[in-house]
């Protein structure tokens, strides 16, 4: 399969949208484009599995290389492994759902969908790039659409939030850039190629400098503590689909970068700094959860909980075992779906009740059973209920973390585990106040979800269940890829202990 299709299809969709005049057409084109992309993503999964079962053991499949800037040894190098496919699937799901939930946007519809599709293109491109330059290119492509989405269609202190987001992400990418250049110049042949860099042993001194730069840089995108402060404001000010994209896809770009670029290319650096990562992520997990407990705005609740959940991703990476890293990727996918769904539901509630303050709501289960049921599902997923994706991911991380036998890792793992209780507290608090209890006056006439909202919710719930009920397909997809990464860190270690 030609991977450029994954980038070209959204690009074509975006251009078509720009050329259209009629808003209804715009919506349908966007939906068709993104649905095709979803089908394409599934097709990719299918052919990937076929290739693998046919015995193709190459690290990356469907590689494609085109010399882009030969003078700089920049090539348009694409390829996928299990991790990328997982992320592509995630993106495809979230994009379709995001487009569905924003069906009723009336303000500058064309521009809105254009930006959404552009954003998704950035994500697809990012996940298939094997050249760090184009990876960086796609990483940055996504910044401005986010800014505009928040700034134009957002609510609340949107301008502040949009600015903060754009600037902090830009700060992150500045660090990434410097780190990338460090890598680039450390190789004799001056290459941005991910695989070439990974096979070349980067000098330790370079790793010591570049690893933190890249990790923190990508970490800003991924909401790494203490660089997460754009997350709550950004998420809560963005329009529904914007929040979904931000939390569901964008934050994953950062985490993916941390894993694929920083950790994979610089194993020594990863080993050296693993403890810092663990400390930061552990703090993020628990502190994010506690901070969530005090929030009253539903979007803030989900945003802070994203900080906490993304902490798990970093924890998984920092633990440096194959299982934990697999868990980290699982958590990326799981959190992506879950948080997108959460934001979608919040958006649906907000559209009807015109408030996001939990204490102003109550008893919504009575008037909108579908929406609230979805809220329950997503809440339960967030607190790690078995059968839903969150559980699989978190448990994989915990089991993987526990494979490190020393006290430090143990303590970190236990602290991280403690968050499952705190998560339960805030999720139940939020759900209890909004969905349960006596119905507040003025909410009697609210309606339940419309077809597009139902479709979006069902799509994402299906994703969550697909991982939650039968995780092994995803696990088997991811773990060979994470194995390669950990093998590079501990060349001797095979499997557990």
């Amino acid at each position: 399969m030609n991977l450029t299709l994954l980038i070209l299809l959204p690009l074509l969709t975006a251009i078509t949208i720009l050329l259209l005049r009629n808003t209804a057409q715009v919506k349908w084109v966007a939906l068709t484009g993104s649905t095709l992309q979803l089908i394409l993503a599934f097709y990719l999964l299918f052919v990937f599995n076929n290739e693998r079962s046919a015995g193709n053991t190459a690290q990356m499949l469907f590689e494609l290389q085109y010399n882009w800037f030969p003078a700089w040894h920049i090539s348009f190098h694409l390829g996928v492994d299990g991790i990328s496919i997982a992320m592509i699937l995630l993106t495809a799901f979230v994009v379709v759902a995001g487009i569905l939930v924003s069906w009723n946007i009336t303000k500058m519809t064309k521009e809105y969908y254009f930006l959404l599709i552009l954003l998704s293109m950035g994500a697809y491109g990012f996940f298939v790039s094997l050249d760090l330059f184009i990876l960086f290119f796609f990483l940055e492509i996504a910044v401005i659409p986010k800014y505009l989405l928040i700034g134009i269609w957002g609510s609340g202190k949107k301008e502040y939030a949009a600015n903060k987001l754009a600037l902090m992400l830009m700060g992150g990418s500045a660090l990434v850039l410097v780190g990338l250049l460090g890598l680039y110049f450390s190789t004799p042949e001056r290459s941005f190629d991910l695989l070439a860099l990974a096979h070349f042993n980067i000098p330790i001194e370079t790793q010591m400098i570049c690893f933190p730069l890249l990790f923190v840089g990508f970490g800003v995108f991924g909401g790494l503590f203490p660089f997460h402060t754009w997350v709550p404001d950004g998420h809560s000010s963005a329009p529904t689909a914007g929040s979904m994209f931000l939390a569901g896809i964008s934050m994953k770009l950062g985490a993916y970068g941390c894993l694929r670029v920083a950790t994979y290319i610089m194993p020594e650096g990863a080993k050296e700094y693993a403890n810092f990562i663990i400390i930061l992520s552990t703090i993020a997990i628990l502190y994010g959860a506690f901070a969530t407990m005090m929030q009253k705005d539903l979007k803030y609740i989900n945003a802070y909980s994203s900080v906490s959940h993304c902490g798990f991703v970093f924890l998984g990476i920092g633990m440096l075992t194959k299982t934990a890293m697999t868990g980290a990727v699982l958590q990326m996918v799981s959190h992506g779906l879950m948080t997108a769904l959460f934001f979608a539901v919040i958006g649906m509630i907000y559209e009807r009740s015109h408030t996001r303050q939990v204490n102003e709501m109550g008893g919504l289960l009575k008037v909108m059973p579908f929406i609230v049921s979805v809220l329950f599902i997503v809440g339960l997923c967030s607190l790690g209920l078995p059968g839903l994706s969150g559980f699989v991911a978190e448990m994989t991380i915990f089991v993987g973390s526990w494979q490190n036998a020393d006290t430090f890792h143990r303590v970190a793992t236990i602290i991280a585990c403690m968050s499952i209780v705190v998560t339960a507290v805030y999720i139940l608090r939020a759900i209890g106040q909004t969905a349960m209890g006596p119905l507040k006056a003025g909410f009697e006439n609210l309606t339940d979800a419309t077809w597009n909202e139902k479709l979006a919710a069902i799509l994402l719930v299906a994703g969550i269940l697909a991982i939650g009920l039968a995780p092994s397909w995803l696990n088997n997809l991811i773990s060979p890829a994470t194995d390669i990464i950990t093998q590079k860190i501990f060349p001797m270690a095979i499997g557990v202990k």
């Binding site: 600037l167 203490p226 402060t229 754009w230 709550p232 404001d233 502190y287 506690f290 901070a291 407990m293 005090m294 929030q295 802070y304 075992t321 194959k322 299982t323 697999t326 008893g363 289960l365 009575k366 339960l380 790690g384 209920l385 078995p386 059968g387 559980f391 699989v392 448990m395 994989t396 915990f398 089991v399 993987g400 526990w402 494979q403 036998a405 006290t407 793992t413 585990c417 403690m418 499952i420 209780v421 339960a424 507290v425 139940l428 608090r429 209890g432 969905a435 349960m436 209890g437 006596p438 119905l439 039968a470 092994s472 696990n475 088997n476 773990s479 095979i494 499997g495 557990v496 202990k497």
Partner: protein, 644 residues
């Protein structure tokens, strides 16, 4: 080997009910939901009984020892080589016994609810949740893998949450369901970490392998697990104690019991199913499942027994003072589970030593019958009276004769009066305690006296005491056939279950355990029980002021017991004051002011600097030239003298 398909159907049919009713129930099965759910469960129960029959009498026993069979196993999630979650079915005596108990009680509750919940707006949802719960509980008991158990453990928790919160528009129900979930979740944390510890040292998550590796004396895994220690306690002990914390949370053991009384906010049949007969004994089941490993660690067993006995006593005392009938039952449940727990704690593994184990399981079995009966009976009463409070009841024996009789049977059973079921199981427990630890035995003895007292206090307060004053429509008290039938069936169970030679089927090592009946030994407990009953009769059979007097004379103690020894207040303090105010609020504050503040400060500093330096651009061309020349000179000086 049995055919795995139909065994798998046992849990899957309730799941089917859940999916069917959960998704389509509201629209399509508004009225038929109960029938559908009940029918599916009926099939399930039949299959469970068939399985039990097959296991106990056909293929289960090899050379006189019940085998652990795994007819079905499916690799669900592979963590790393050797470490995987396998969803499977493990058949051994306790799981088969639990299959029967769970399906049977659940079926009773399903039938009972047909009448009890009739006309509820969310009737299909109710049956969907019941289905989910039954599925999860069945999945839990047949787990072949410790992680599988954890999975279903959590699912059980969530179904409990959903059912407690069934009346979601009542703030108290909402609070209760949250509390139940969070408290058990807190305990699950221990379970989870325990799993991590055990799996790390055993290198597996599979129950059989895990038990085998951690118990055979020559295994290297056991040696490392014993040798490794943290804070002076061996890793093995840590592991099992942590797992026990999980069990204690689910089983409402001290001090994690606070959710159970509140959980009575759910519909009464739910209380019967979840909070009396099945889910709350999951903790006991967990300890029993891992019993061989527990028995490798003496401190862990001690903890189990002391937690069990103190919960038993503590709950019994509180039960004597409560006036909400469901709460009394809740505390009695807690107390009885305490019995089961300490029975495990005082048990040894294998042969005669395993008496406690068998006793515990036996009590679990009989308790399920009579406690479900009690709850359903109480439900019938509540259905009639529309109140949970004793003060609104009295003299109901005339209005609800069947309920009255069955309730009485259950009370006798729990009080340990021969020949009812409770007598046999409790005797065994006391015997096991007597053989191992006399301190525990004495406490247990007192507790069983108290049990008789509070149960009959309840009984007399409901059915005797003051006369009932019928208001308006309340002519016939009984709730119809659907409600009667389960009561009767369970009453039969509560009366007769004791005669099952339980030791033949369930024992710590699979081999039959001949339990002897010691007549002399039974005198003390039975006498104490009768004493409790008569005290209750003296105090409560007719309306009088003796109870108040006693309450006054006990003053402080009574008050403390009435307020459940202030555990709720303590938890309130910890959660509201400490967690929210001392951790949550500062975390949120720090995020807003320090972390975020730093970012904002960077922004505003930049702005300020930008404002400050605007003077350089003064608009005076001569000044520009001065800066120009100054720049030239500075560069020249810098590069000629300083920076070579």
């Amino acid at each position: 080997m049995p055919n795995a398909t139909y065994i798998a159907l046992i849990p899957l049919l309730p799941l089917a009910a859940f999916i069917l009713l959960g998704i389509f129930g509201r629209k399509h099965f508004k009225n038929s939901a109960g029938i559908i759910g009940t029918f599916l469960l009926l099939v399930s129960t039949a299959l469970a009984l068939y399985t039990a029959y097959g296991y106990f009498f056909d293929y289960g026993k090899v050379n006189g020892v019940y085998q652990k069979l795994i007819p079905l196993q499916y690799n669900w999630l592979q963590f790393s080589p050797g470490l995987s979650i396998d969803i499977g079915i493990l058949l051994d005596p306790i799981s088969v016994m639990m299959l029967v108990v769970v399906t049977f009680i659940s079926l009773m509750v399903h039938i009972y609810s047909l009448a009890y919940m009739k006309g509820e707006e969310r009737f299909p949802t109710y049956y969907a949740f019941l289905g989910l719960f039954t599925f999860s509980m069945l999945g839990l008991v047949v787990s072949s893998n410790i992680f599988q158990m954890y999975i279903f453990w959590e699912l059980v928790g969530v179904s409990s949450f959903l059912l407690i919160g069934y009346y979601y528009d009542r703030p108290s129900a909402v609070a209760a369901c949250k509390k139940a979930f969070i408290v058990t979740r807190f305990a699950d944390l221990g379970f989870l970490i325990g799993i991590l510890v055990l799996s790390f040292y055993s290198g597996t998550l599979d129950f059989n392998t895990l038990i085998q590796r951690l118990t055979s004396p020559e295994s290297s895994e056991l040696k490392t697990a014993v040798a490794a220690s943290f804070l002076g306690v061996s890793a093995l002990t840590w592991g099992v104690v942590l797992v026990f914390i999980g069990g204690a949370g689910k089983s409402a053991m001290l001090p994690l019991h606070i959710w159970l009384p509140d959980a009575m906010e759910g519909p009464t049949p739910v209380s019967a199913l979840i909070h009396a007969a099945t889910m709350v004994v999951a903790g006991v089941f967990l300890v029993a499942r891992l019993f061989p490993v527990f028995s490798m660690s003496a401190p862990a067993l001690e903890i189990v027994s002391y937690v069990g006995i103190s919960s038993a006593l503590f709950a019994a005392i509180i039960a004597c003072t409560q006036t909400d009938i469901k709460r009394v039952l809740a505390y009695s449940t807690m107390s009885q589970i305490g019995f089961m727990m300490f029975a495990l704690g005082v048990s040894g593994s294998g042969g005669e030593n395993g008496l406690g184990f068998t006793a515990s399981m036996f009590h679990l079995f009989t308790h399920a019958m009579f406690k479900a009966l009690l709850f359903l009976g109480a439900g019938a009463v509540i259905h009639f009276i529309h109140s949970n409070e004793m003060k609104d009841m009295g003299g109901l024996r005339k209005y609800m004769p069947i309920t009255h009789i069955t309730f009485l049977i259950a009370c006798l059973a729990i009080a340990g009066v021969p020949p009812f079921a409770g007598f046999f199981s409790k005797e065994e427990i006391l015997l096991a305690a007597y053989q191992h630890n006399s301190f525990i035995y004495w406490i247990a003895l007192i507790t069983s006296g108290l049990t008789a007292f509070y149960m009959f206090r309840l009984y007399f307060n409901i059915f005797w005491n003051k006369e009932h004053e019928p208001q308006g429509e309340h002519h016939h008290g009984e709730g119809g056939f659907a409600m009667m039938m389960p009561l009767l069936l369970l009453a039969v169970g509560a009366a007769a279950a004791g005669f099952i030679p339980f030791g033949h089927f369930v024992s710590s090592d699979g081999a039959a355990l001949e339990s002897e009946f010691h007549f002399q030994f039974s005198i003390a407990p039975v006498a104490l029980g009768l004493m409790g009953i008569f005290t209750a009769m003296w105090l409560y059979k007719t309306k009088n002021n003796k109870p108040d007097k006693i309450a006054v004379s006990l003053n402080g103690f009574y008050k403390a017991a009435y307020h459940k020894f202030y555990f709720d207040e303590l938890y309130q303090l910890i959660t509201k004051k400490i967690i929210f105010n001392l951790i949550g609020r500062p975390a949120a504050w720090i995020d807003k002011n320090v972390v975020d503040g730093f970012v904002n400060a960077t922004g505003s500093t930049t702005q300020t600097i930008s404002e400050k330096i605007k003077g350089f651009q003064s608009g005076k061309v001569q000044q520009y030239a001065i800066y120009f020349l100054a720049g030239v000179i500075a560069l020249a000086v810098l590069f000629i003298y300083v920076w070579k």
